[in-house]
Point group: C2
Chain length 231, copies 2
């Protein structure tokens, strides 16, 4: 029983045997953004032991979920990518992300964001990725020292790591940008309070907030509030 078998002929049990392994969901999240080298994964998953990462990658490869791209020719870097079977996990990862996002309020002590986490969050926030086809807007989004960009074009919205050369709008924020995307903070208030700073047309910022949404669950129990009458 190496890999946590539950002994049940059940789709959820089979899924749990894989995504229930520590770090696996985050590895899959990073790979869902795009192919990554081993060192990229190490950098994007602070705290992961290198042997655990190596084990997970091997297991996922054995399961047909991840593939190693052979270091062809002068390229001396092994690249890991999701297989088609791995990509089929997308809807499940999205659903889990939404659920988890719905329960997020403020970052816990020491919690960080990574390029992959922001990019994945923006993609999930884009939902089906459909926007009005006459939108043609590019955004650079910086959260802390993380750099990503969003493009709305041809009726689609996409999010990817890195910055664009000459975006229509520059957005700089902290993790509090989550409240904007959750709808608990209006674009106007986000700017007025300084939670988000922009450089460019504020109308494009409203468009940004209009196209991207993360859930906000009303059913979250607050962990031990001050003993008096809590909201």
């Amino acid at each position: 029983m190496t890999n946590q078998h539950y002994g049940q002929f059940c789709g959820l049990a089979r899924a749990a045997e894989i995504v229930g392994q520590r770090w696996t969901l985050l590895i899959l999240r990073d790979l869902s953004v795009g192919p990554r080298r081993y060192s990229d994964l190490v950098a994007g998953l602070p705290g992961i032991p290198t042997n655990t990462l190596a084990s997970r990658l091997k297991e996922l490869e054995d399961e047909g979920i991840v593939e190693r791209a052979a270091p062809a020719g002068a390229e001396r870097s092994v690249v890991y990518a999701l297989t088609p079977r791995g990509q089929e996990l997308g809807p499940a990862l999205d659903a889990l992300s939404r659920w988890g996002a719905g329960g997020m309020r403020t970052p816990r002590e020491g919690e960080i964001v990574t390029t992959s986490s922001i990019t994945a969050a923006l993609r999930v926030a884009a939902g089906d990725g459909v926007v009005p086809s006459d939108w043609d807007t590019t955004y650079n989004v910086r959260v802390g020292d993380i750099e990503t960009h969003v493009v709305m074009r041809d009726g689609r919205v996409t999010a990817d790591p890195g910055l664009l050369e000459d975006p229509d709008l520059e957005i700089v924020a902290g993790p509090g940008i989550r409240n904007l995307l959750a709808g608990t903070l209006s674009p106007q208030d986000a700017l007025a309070t300084g939670v988000v700073q922009i450089q460019g047309d504020p109308a494009l910022f409203e468009r940004f907030a209009q196209a991207l949404h993360v859930p906000y669950s009303a059913n979250v129990a607050e962990p031990q509030p001050a003993a008096s009458a809590a909201g």
Copy 2:
């Protein structure tokens, strides 16, 4: 770091901290079928250590995902149920179930099915649960010694544990019924090969197969085939 914190302000990471715990997904699956007593859970999760179950239930209660129903009056049995926040996990559990089901072929050595696993699978197989509103059909479904029933009525299809008194169709099968629901085995072949036995109108059996579908991934890598030229 008791409960596997990943240190990332990310919905998926937060979700992983909960559903990544061993047994948690299966506990949630069982509770998603309906409220359960401690002993029900123990019985439905063969192999779970009782202290692990107790820990999980406590953690899930602390997270606001599960609630203990107080043993009111003469009832001396504690009942666990999903909170609204726990029910919000439904789409994620369904997505994971579908993905896992897509990778299932035949049961591994010793794998079993449980009442909750079958019931949950039938619910997932029902998709959005919509059927033609003129269908009014009841089924008893036995898989091994597991007893469940399916009702199609008022345009909805539901699945629940236990048997009905006088169903329109009795279905008896093994885990191979999965191939019927996956579409890799026709209702006719299922009957002809004896994979499924029915008692009642075969047309109702075709309706059953028509309304319930589990995924079947074409992208599954078969585990270590004979060493020669593998697909």
